[in-house]
Amino acid sequence: MKTVTMYALSTCPWCRKIKDLLTEHGVPFDFIDYDLADEATQKRIMEELDREGTSLFPFVRIDGIPVTGYQPDRILELLGL
């Protein structure tokens, strides 16, 4: 089973679409809604995204491989689905 983590915004429909996509395919995943997180968590997420050279959401990591934006085909490909 691949490890899937996601940084999202509660106001972002594309983030919701990815959550729905993963759920529909029965893929377990962890996520944090950045805008609902506490200040320390937001700072940690931004430092991580800065290292990746992005600040765009949704941001998904599948077994360490980052995917920025709503890219359902790429996500399913990385998941082997």
Binding site: L9, C12, P13, W14, T54, Y70
Partner: protein, 111 residues
């Protein structure tokens, strides 16, 4: 309290800004309504209708760049996508917004 009057006001003002930039509201009415709703919520929370799909960094100079419509700050990127990041706006010639990918700048040949 209903958000409809404010959504309509934002539509009125934003249309006048994005039109001369070559953009229009997405023809996906459901998506447009959802995104405007989020902007009204963000405006209520922060006083400014920020992009619903970009994070606030609590750095005024950077946060200013995600105030809707943020097209002028990301022009090359959005022109390459034919849509803004959240998809509220698309190029005027777009008829099928769902066919437009949401790719980061480096995946469309930009920095």
């Amino acid at each position: 309290m209903s958000t409809e009057p404010r959504k309509e006001a934002l539509r009125f003002f934003f249309a006048r800004i994005v039109g001369p930039l070559g953009y229009k509201f997405t023809p996906d009415a459901e998506m447009m309504d959802f995104l405007l709703e989020q902007e009204v919520i963000l405006e209520g929370k922060h006083g400014i209708p920020f992009c619903p799909c970009q994070p606030l960094r609590h750095d005024p100079a950077r946060d200013m760049q995600i105030v809707c419509p943020c097209i002028p700050f990301h022009r090359k990127h959005f022109d390459a996508l034919k849509r803004c990041w959240c998809g509220l706006y698309v190029h005027k010639d777009v008829t099928d917004p769902n066919a437009l990918p949401q790719l980061p700048p480096w995946e469309v040949g930009l920095d």
